[in-house]
Amino acid sequence: MKKFLPYIVSFAVVSLLTLQAQAQCKGFAKKLCKMELTGYVHDGNYHAAILTEGEEAELYKTFYSGQKYRLAICGSEILPPIEYQVIDAYKNVVFDNREHNMVGTWDFTLESSQQLKVVVKVPVSDQKSEFPDSGCVSIMFGLQEK
């Protein structure tokens, strides 16, 4: 029994860490990221995940004309500023926050409805460390009646 004790302890610690990380991600999205939508109503959808430096997430959504949108991308403090692009069905980059001082939000309207892809990336930090940093990344949409 003693032989397995370290494994049992490891499993318990890791399970707790996982649960804690998930709860933190939920809290981060609800408390901090939602603040970026001030003036807009959050659509209520939850898109958040724990990403590690160098990793990407993609989101597919149809955006409709007659609606004002705010896209907000937020990352935990431990992560470097999050990069993101918005891409149309023809592979045109519609918005790239690296060309706009790494802003975390983007407001837009559409002349006609479009399916767009949001690509989010946690860049690799310049500071070398033994383990890459991981943290919560959240994608949120705010709506405003036009």
């Binding site: 724990i50 990403l51 989101l59 309207t109 479009q114 009646e145």
Partner: protein, 312 residues
């Protein structure tokens, strides 16, 4: 000294295992690590879903019940309480699937009523969503404080919408963080179908030419492809077992798919006008919608049959 070394190794082991598990907890069906080759170096073909395997995490985002109601209102829909799902029917939903679908349906009805400033109806629908969410084990979806905030601000549409948004966020975050992505998908699909139902019923036998609401419903073909992807992603769980509810739902949506196949929606490439910085960027493009009266009639019939089946 040796003891310290073993302990350090043990700590490292826990740390690494923790990282792996945390990552695993967030994975969807399609997971691959991507080469760090910069954002601009991918996407070479024309379909929006190309290169989908590159990202570690894929999100499919459908219009939420709140957005659905807003889209219908901006397209000129009027309010008709007769179309909303019967409040008294809430107790008959006993399966996981029927609860999830109807939680979405009631949340769209709630959003719809609140956007038209129907204070008392909104309160009743909030009560029902709370009951259904509790039945599904989502106890923090609507707490007492939220209900009080709603009751005290029933005539303030902004606050009512904020409460609905918060409630839906609590529901979707609970489900997604408790490995119930399939249930979250069913809630979203239920809410989306209810939006189609309200819209198509409101149009009734009216002409479809130059009808903004018809165009809005036809344009939902773009979201239907996201519905399909989202459900396909949840067909099999992480243990490799088939999800009977999702497979059943995919089959039920077949007639709707056939109806949307008869409708043509073409979009041009987007050009961005970023000069107007005060109100944000304007995405300039064209979307052509081609729908015949027969195709729209079939879409109306498919939606009605589907929705009536869900609320039974």
């Amino acid at each position: 000294m040796q003891q310290i070394f073993i302990n350090l190794r043990f700590v490292h082991l826990i740390f690494l295992a923790g990282l792996l598990l945390m990552n695993g907890a967030c994975k969807s069906g399609k997971n691959r690590m991507q080469k760090d080759d910069g954002l601009g170096s991918f996407l070479t073909e024309e379909d929006i879903f190309d290169d989908i395997d590159k990202a570690k995490k894929i999100f499919y985002s459908l219009p939420s019940p709140l957005e659905t109601a807003m889209l219908l209102k901006s397209a000129g829909i009027s309010y008709n309480e007769q179309l909303l799902n019967d409040l008294a029917g809430v107790d008959k939903y006993s399966t996981k699937k029927s609860k999830a679908m109807n939680l979405g349906i009631y949340t769209t009805d709630l959003s719809f009523a609140s956007l038209f400033d129907q204070a008392q109806t909104s309160l009743k629908y909030m009560d029902v969503t709370k009951k259904l969410a509790n039945d599904m084990g989502i106890n923090d979806a609507v707490d007492e404080e939220t209900m009080k905030r709603l009751e005290q601000n029933l005539n303030n549409r902004d606050i009512v919408m904020d409460v609905i948004s918060e409630t839906f966020l609590n529901t979707s975050s609970f489900l997604k963080e408790n490995d119930q992505q399939d249930v979250a998908a069913m809630v979203l699909v239920g809410g989306w179908i209810e939006g189609l139902y309200l819209g198509t019923q409101m149009i009734g036998n009216a002409g479809i030419a130059n009808n903004k609401l018809v165009d809005r419903i036809a344009e939902q073909k773009l979201s239907f492809s996201i519905v399909e992807r989202m459900l396909q992603d949840n067909k099999v769980n992480q243990k490799g077992q088939e999800n009977v509810d999702i497979i059943e739902l995919i089959n039920e949506l077949h007639r709707l798919k056939m109806a949307y196949d008869q409708i043509e929606v073409q979009t041009s490439a987007v050009k961005v006008d970023q000069k107007d910085t005060l109100s944000g960027s304007v995405l300039k493009s064209q979307t052509k919608v081609k729908v015949s009266p027969e195709a729209f009639k079939e879409l109306q019939a498919a939606v009605e049959s589907l929705r009536n089946n869900f609320v039974q």
